[in-house]
Amino acid sequence: MTGREAAARRRALVCVGPTVLALGALTVYPGVWVLWLSFQRRIPIFDVSRFAGFENYAFLAVDSRFWSAARTTAVFTLGSVALEVVLGVAAALAIHAQQRGRKVSLSLLLLAWAMPAVVGAKLFEWLYHPAAGLINVALGRHAINWLGDPSVALPAVILADVWRTMPFVAILCYARLLAIPADVYEAAQVDGAGRIATLTRITLPLLGRILLLAVLFRTLDALRAFDIMFVLTGGGPAGTTETLTVYAYRALFQTLQLGFGSAVSVVVFALVMAVAWAYLRLLRAGTVAA
């Protein structure tokens, strides 16, 4: 290594230093601390602090509320991400096919995306209002108990989430669509490909990688979803909309069981990491194949 290279290295370390330190202080340290907490019974305000080994995890294994929250998280994630992808792609194709007013459509889409989650949730709280809500007024006699019926509440929450986050998928796909050269479509037309064949053989495969990325982001967000159900239902009715993060919040911040709540958080963290790892592998495999 020459002197210049060594100097450049030192400079690089100094430049990277704050980031590494900040990441270490803000991510690694709390992460390890939470893991350590999850092996304890710790409720500081009642002076409870003792090592408990896997006691919290053993309780989670038989805790019906935990499994219900896990199931809700899974259904919410699958449901909202699937709908977002289908509607997002459809919206992107629709805007792409539009001759005029693309900017207006895009701005409207972005409006929903730019809205803070809590504001969006409040909006849907009014839409779902049992008597005065727009939806039930439109349904007239067939009014639905949106947020109070255990079989409807989770779909209602998913719908509200899809409305807010679908634009994210749509914008990403739209950007990719703009980048597909026109001659690809011309060539398809010359070869006699119909609209359906063009869509399934050309457009969708070309959207594949960006979609995978969108799905990765959205899945990780959906697994950690909190605000929308917290505002809309508080986890009810009968806990049917309580996700793992809402459960963790209740344990950690409401009932102050730092040990038990940390165990729930560790499970969420492990889940998110596993999913991220699987997606990243898929993405990498895609890169090699392409």
Binding site: R11, R65, A131, G148, T233, P237, A238, T240, R250, L256
Partner: protein, 428 residues
């Protein structure tokens, strides 16, 4: 070119370092004594608090009082206090407390024990239920500030039309709903609306149903659900109200405001709610103005007389306050009779001092106050325990499950009991 870039990059790096690790130093406190009072701005348009704080400053030269706002939602306020008090940051002296937090904060050592600061009989003017919720382990930890009790609102015009008197039992209420609805033939008219959403309000409503049926959530000796069969029966009764259509299906998503609006728009005969709703029903432009009255919550035909759950806010002094005597004086000033009168006049909050319910000025603006006093006296506090939030958060989904009919009431009670046993074993 590169050299110039390299040189110009240093200030940037330095800035990042400063941003990351600067800004931690705080200046020392100087000048006159400053007391910080934490409260939620729940007092509506004519907030009398700034004036009350100025009056305290005028009476205590050299003391400045800063009123600082708490977050809006009760859960967020609790979280704010816990983080700051657990983190030992002495950011405030006097704090507004939801009455259900007092034993928890007292046990955690965050509240100054006020017992020795109190004159004998200083708490006598307050509602006994308010004093009970400010007391833990035989010591007093807070001064009652405003007071709430669950009431049964009814449409006096409709009941009079059918020659009915306000119901004393839930069975009578159900019968009256049937008669009025049969006569009115209005499909938009609901019977009895209350709070069945999965949140603290649900626990309050279920507790009232428990009490009417001779059941409790927590016994004095710490047993959870000491009368499980009666408790399950009370839950079954509430579920029955929804199943039979006496209460609308959306009761399972209703909070105070949702049910208050339905009743206030003239779409219900009976409503369970807090005293604040009366002012809104009597307000200008209200659809039910002059048609509403309130009565005690009903009992059960073969159970106990009904009792409303009590609530409200207390003022406590932080045990980390650097000026405990001044802070105590401020809490006393804000809970004084004249302060509580000003608050009751300026906002829809009921005072915790009984004498004010017969105060000429207040009765003129709120004619229902003398009646309210009798009902408030009969009110019962929610379990006074440091573990109240744990209790409440654990039973909420179980009660909700019984209400929406996905779990038999017996199982909901049993499941809640099992979970509570695990959590309470750790803290007791």
């Amino acid at each position: 070119m590169t050299a110039r870039l390299r040189r110009s990059a240093w200030p940037l790096v330095l800035t990042v370092w400063l941003l990351a690790f600067g800004g931690c130093a705080a200046g020392p406190e100087r000048g006159p004594v400053t007391l910080v009072f934490k409260y939620a701005r729940i007092l509506g348009n004519a907030d009398p608090l700034p004036e009350l704080l100025r009056a305290f400053e005028a009476a205590h030269p050299g003391v400045r009082v800063k009123g600082e706002a708490l977050p809006w939602a009760s859960d967020d306020q609790h979280q704010f206090y816990v983080i700051n008090l657990e983190g030992r940051s002495p950011g405030f002296d006097v704090m507004m407390l939801d009455c259900i937090w007092v034993p928890e904060f007292a046990r955690a050592g965050w509240l100054l024990d006020l017992t020795s600061h109190l004159q004998p009989d200083e708490l006598a003017p307050y509602f006994p239920s308010a004093v009970a919720s400010a007391t833990y382990g035989g010591r007093v930890w807070a001064l009652p500030w405003n007071f709430n009790v669950g009431l049964l609102y009814y449409r006096a015009d409709l009941l009079a039309k059918y020659g009915l008197r306000p119901p004393e039992t839930y069975e009578e209420l159900v019968e009256q709903v049937r008669r009025v609805r049969a006569g009115e033939r209005d499909p938009a008219l609901d019977g009895y609306v209350w709070q069945g959403k999965q949140y603290e309000g649900l626990v309050v409503n279920v507790l009232e149903a428990f009490w009417a049926n001779g059941a409790r959530l927590l016994a004095e000796d710490g047993t959870v659900f000491p009368e499980p069969a009666r408790a399950a029966d009370a839950l079954r009764f509430l579920r029955g109200l929804i199943e039979t259509g006496v209460s609308p299906a959306w009761t399972t998503a209703a909070d105070e405001e949702l049910s208050r609006r339905a009743f206030g728009d003239g779409h219900a005969i009976f409503l369970r709610n807090w005293p604040y709703a009366m002012d809104l029903f009597e307000g200008k432009g209200s659809a039910v103005r002059g048609k509403v009255a309130f009565a005690p919550l009903p009992g059960r035909a073969r159970g106990e007389p009904g009792a409303g759950s009590t609530g409200g806010a207390h003022l406590g002094v932080s045990s980390r306050s650097r000026h405990p005597d001044l802070a105590m004086a401020l809490a006393r000033h804000l809970t004084s009779e004249s302060a509580q009168r000003a608050i009751a006049l300026g906002a829809a909050l009921s005072p915790a001092r009984q004498a004010l319910y017969r105060d000429a000025e207040l009765v003129r603006s709120h004619p229902a106050m003398p009646r309210l006093q009798a009902l408030a006296l009969a009110g019962r506090p929610r379990p006074v325990t440091p573990y109240y939030l744990l209790l409440s958060a654990t039973v909420q989904p179980e009660f909700s499950a019984a209400l929406v009919g996905v779990k038999p009431p017996e199982r909901a009670i049993a499941d809640a009991g099992t979970r509570l046993a695990y959590f309470l074993r750790a803290v007791r």
